[in-house]
């Protein structure tokens, strides 16, 4: 077991450290209190989320029960969950897991490529004044462009093919990633640059040891936004550009709607939501970690 020195108040020898509540005082030791506190914290974090989910499901059930739309247009929560379970066990009319895998792989590949291009572009723009004057504003402008607007052009260019989807994913993610790094570099405190200069961090070392690490929080924020745009572009693309031989979440969503399989459709939407939430959780934990290491947390503008 690990020995926590911070709680080693008193004269406890390593062998007696494992003993939890102290019988002498009758009070639980700090160590014994910890697991309970952990569970309590977990419950505190989880119950509002559970409640929110329950409310949504209740509302959903109420609308369903009112008979507003027929089953094939608006399935019940129970049917959806059953369907979700059914497709997840690989029994659906389509290959669910292959679809999930293809979609996620497309997302990861598109995002990875955007990351490389966006980073290089961002550094280049922040470094060369001419380039900044030329395309700096355009990069910011591109961020406001809904990714779906790119599709007619992408289809015209590449046909109904994966390339069209990748193209839109890239056009969505690259501006955000580039912008993140441009903002990050612009906002590096001059005092760090001066300190780095005096330490001998010049030329590429200036980037390696000062600029990039200092710009990291903004860069991570840009990556997070870039992923969000990539994910949206990807799903939109898969719905529009159906490639019959490649199962994908977007394609399956579209088919479910066309075939009037409401429970299938809703089950797939839940899957898309969960994947999006997981990815956003990953990015926010990275961002949180980066900020915490720099002492940028603990007193925030938001509540609790």
């Amino acid at each position: 077991m690990s020995v926590d020195l911070s709680s080693g108040i008193g004269t406890g020898t390593p062998t007696s450290r494992g003993a939890s509540p102290s019988p002498a005082t009758g009070e639980p030791s700090r160590r014994a209190a910890r697991p309970g506190a952990g569970v309590r914290r977990a419950v505190e974090v989880v119950w509002p989320k559970l409640l929110a989910v329950l409310l949504v499901v209740a509302l959903w059930q109420a609308i369903y029960a009112s008979g507003w739309k027929p089953d094939y247009r608006f399935a019940s929560p129970a049917d959806t969950v059953e369907r979700l379970w059914f497709v997840m066990s690989g029994n659906g009319p389509f290959n669910f897991w292959m679809g999930v895998q293809n979609t996620i792989m497309r997302g990861i590949q598109g995002f990875a490529l955007s990351l490389v291009i966006g980073t290089i572009l961002g550094i280049a723009v922040s470094q060369w004044r001419v380039l900044r004057n030329a395309i700096g504003a355009m990069i910011t402008g591109l961020q406001t462009m809904p990714s779906i607007v790119w599709f007619p052009f992408a289809i015209l260019l590449f046909g109904l093919d994966s390339s069209a989807i990748y193209f839109v994913v890239l056009m969505g993610a690259i501006p955000s990633i580039a912008n993140g790094i441009i903002n990050g570099i612009d906002d590096v405190p001059p005092s760090y640059l001066r300190a780095g200069h005096m330490l001998g961090a010049r030329g590429w070392r200036r980037y390696r040891f000062v600029v990039i690490p200092a710009a990291l929080p903004a860069y991570v924020a840009g990556l997070s936004q870039g992923w969000a745009f990539a994910w949206r572009g990807l799903l939109a693309g898969e719905i529009i550009v159906s490639i019959p031989e490649v199962p994908a979440l977007g394609t399956q969503l579209n088919q479910a709607a066309v075939n009037g399989q409401s429970a299938n459709l809703l089950a797939l939407m839940i899957v898309v939501l969960v994947i999006g939430m997981l990815a956003s959780f990953v990015f926010s934990s990275i961002g949180q970690r980066v900020r915490a290491r720099r002492g940028l947390t603990g007193f925030t503008a938001g509540g609790g």
Partner: protein, 269 residues
């Protein structure tokens, strides 16, 4: 007190380490303007100053007299509009007012980075980092992050980073201005000890008269609008270590304060 710093009695006048009397910094007819045309601000006007090797020189003046500008010119962070700054190929380190330890690194990693950029091989660095942290009395705290340290500890960390660079000339821009008086006193002892031990040349900017009298071999009193050297006060007659309660130190500080006040009043009019 760490055993690596020179004991106080060894700092008495006459027992300072032998120092060659060659200028480490030669500033001649240096002027610096910011901006152009009618809106230009003359920050420095024809400043001449020689700093000898191993000398501790304070630049004293009110805000806006160009003392920080002068330090930046010596550091090479900026270049003069006219005149020359010659640092005779000496290696220069800079300690800033705010401890600019990088927040994305631990204290130890900050010192390590300075060693790495100075070209110290990887294998020698961990030991050297610990040595330097010991020297500034931060031994065993290398794993801390800058935001976890007090203001005084951060400045000592910055000092360790400066020492890691193994520089000949150390430039200090009001490094203790943000510290409380007690911590500042302790830092004065520390910086004086390290200066004597390592034979550093120090150019130290301050607006604090007592600090200048406490630390310097010579204090350069600067005037503003435009910034130039008004008077140079030698402090060699005051034995080290100096105590702020010492009558001669107090007298000297009083005289300089009087001059500085007159200088400020000239501009407030």
């Amino acid at each position: 007190m760490s055993t690596t710093t020179t004991p106080r009695h060894e700092l008495a006048e006459g027992s300072l380490p032998a120092r060659t009397r060659a200028p480490a910094v030669s500033i001649s007819e240096v002027s610096k303007d910011f901006g152009r045309g009618p809106d230009a601000v003359v920050a420095l006007h024809e400043v001449d100053l020689l700093v000898e090797r191993g000398e501790f020189v304070c630049l004293l003046g009110a805000s806006g007299c160009g003392k920080s500008t002068l330090l930046n010119l010596v550091a090479g962070l900026d270049s003069p509009t006219s005149g020359t700054v010659d640092t005779a190929g000496n290696k220069i380190a800079f300690m800033f007012q705010e401890a600019t330890l990088f927040p994305w690194l631990t204290l130890g990693q900050n010192v390590d980075l300075a060693l790495r950029l100075t070209g110290v091989p990887r294998s020698a660095r961990p030991e050297r980092v610990e040595e330097l942290l010991e020297k500034v009395r931060l031994g065993g705290r290398g794993h801390r992050r800058p935001h976890e340290l007090s203001g005084g500890m951060r400045q000592r960390g910055a000092l360790a980073r400066v020492l890691a660079q193994d520089a000949d000339i150390v430039l200090m821009d009001e490094p203790f201005a943000a510290l409380d008086a007690m911590t500042r006193d302790a830092m004065h002892d520390e910086i004086e000890g390290l200066w004597a031990e390592l034979g550093l040349t120090v150019l130290f900017v301050t607006h604090n008269v007592r600090e200048a009298v406490r630390l310097s071999d010579r204090t350069v009193l600067m005037e503003s609008g435009p910034g130039r050297v008004k008077e140079i006060h030698a402090m060699h007659d005051l034995p080290r270590p100096r105590h702020l309660e010492d009558q001669r130190v107090t007298e000297r500080a009083g005289r300089l304060t009087h001059l500085l006040k007159a200088e400020v009043a000239r501009h407030v009019r």
